[in-house]
Symmetry: C2
Subunit: 253 residues, 2 copies
Amino acid sequence: MLKVVLLGTGNLARHLFDAISKSDRAKIVQVVGRNLNDLAWFSHHTAVSNDFNDVFEADVYLIAVKDDAIVQVSKCLAGKPGIVAHTSGATDMDVLIPENKGVFYPLQSFTKGRELDFKNIPICVEAKKESSLQILKKLACSISSNVQEVDSDQRKKVHLAAVFVSNFTNYLYGLGHEICIEEGLSFDLLKPLILETAEKVQTFAPRDAQTGPARRNDQLSMQNHLSLLKNEKHIALYKLLSDAIKEVYEEKL
Amino acid sequence: MLKVVLLGTGNLARHLFDAISKSDRAKIVQVVGRNLNDLAWFSHHTAVSNDFNDVFEADVYLIAVKDDAIVQVSKCLAGKPGIVAHTSGATDMDVLIPENKGVFYPLQSFTKGRELDFKNIPICVEAKKESSLQILKKLACSISSNVQEVDSDQRKKVHLAAVFVSNFTNYLYGLGHEICIEEGLSFDLLKPLILETAEKVQTFAPRDAQTGPARRNDQLSMQNHLSLLKNEKHIALYKLLSDAIKEVYEEKL
């Protein structure tokens, strides 16, 4: 049974806490954080502390705080016996102060109040020492069925890819929402299409699933669409994305 | 029992055929198309013809051909007793030649070989005459539980919105795919995130679900991401989308 101390009390910390609590191969022995209100929730289930210098001994210290607080928190763990791992997609492993260090990055977008099955969440692991990597893998496998070794350079690229496929995609959903509302129509009209588009690439490569006017180089439809847009930024976006799509398929010819 | 003639034999025609065949309130009495190979498939289930001047009498004529062939096909139906409706998102109802006309637009992305439950597919209906609208609604309700009255102007806007939330989104999935492959990583890493992002907006408004560096106006992360991109178009896209997101949330302050 791996002993884990969780540092941080935010959204990701709660999701990690829930997932590890359900595992029979790991347990959270302590949660450490500054915010007493947030700690209160954890205190019903395990030991808590708001003093980063009062941290229990454990096999793994999981740092789930904001990116700019990671180094500071890791300093407090310098003399500890276990592996110190952060959970950030965008942060180098090497910024961690302790020698025995690693990364434990769950690749998902976590929303307060939204339950997620951790089994399906990919966890990217990395460690300085091979033996530590094995322990982080064991912990990851105890909560997820999709565990991958990803080094710091790769992880930054994956984090960038996540921005494209999730943050930017959600912004486009927002544009669709805006258009529906302006026309007095329900956003429900677009929901099945949004879901199907995401489901399709679970089995098809995105390049093979591409459809639409730009894919067909259908100039008339694209001009019609552009004439409906008023916002300069939306026009620029439509043009840039259409050009980018055309380019992909021109290359294929 | 509504009698329907289906004109066209492509992807959408097949999906419509399957859906209407399962309905107990409508039936396809004939399929008309030019391509004999495609007609062969339908001929196992109903009457077929490759002559657009040899069309049966019916309550509804559904034109499911390419946009630029709609007018031509509708000409052949000018003397017919039923409602002539096209199924296109981007085409005005008024281009149809027959007087008794309408639109029957299923808002979904159809892929060959991919089964879809029509029950969840929104159908946008419109008609010149009120009595025809009621018949198109009856037909739509017999295969879908999401039927909405949408006029030609609204429909063009919805079609534009669909390009943003589906075609452009799929292009962004393609970028994510590209990044994973370049790094020697599996696209499987991004699949759960893609799905969760789409599922989230089934219940949350997209604006409330927005996360990421641009949402937080996290300059450092955005600069790090830009330094990882080499393709000029991808850089322009990252900047434009990030600026657009920042703008939305600055407005909110």
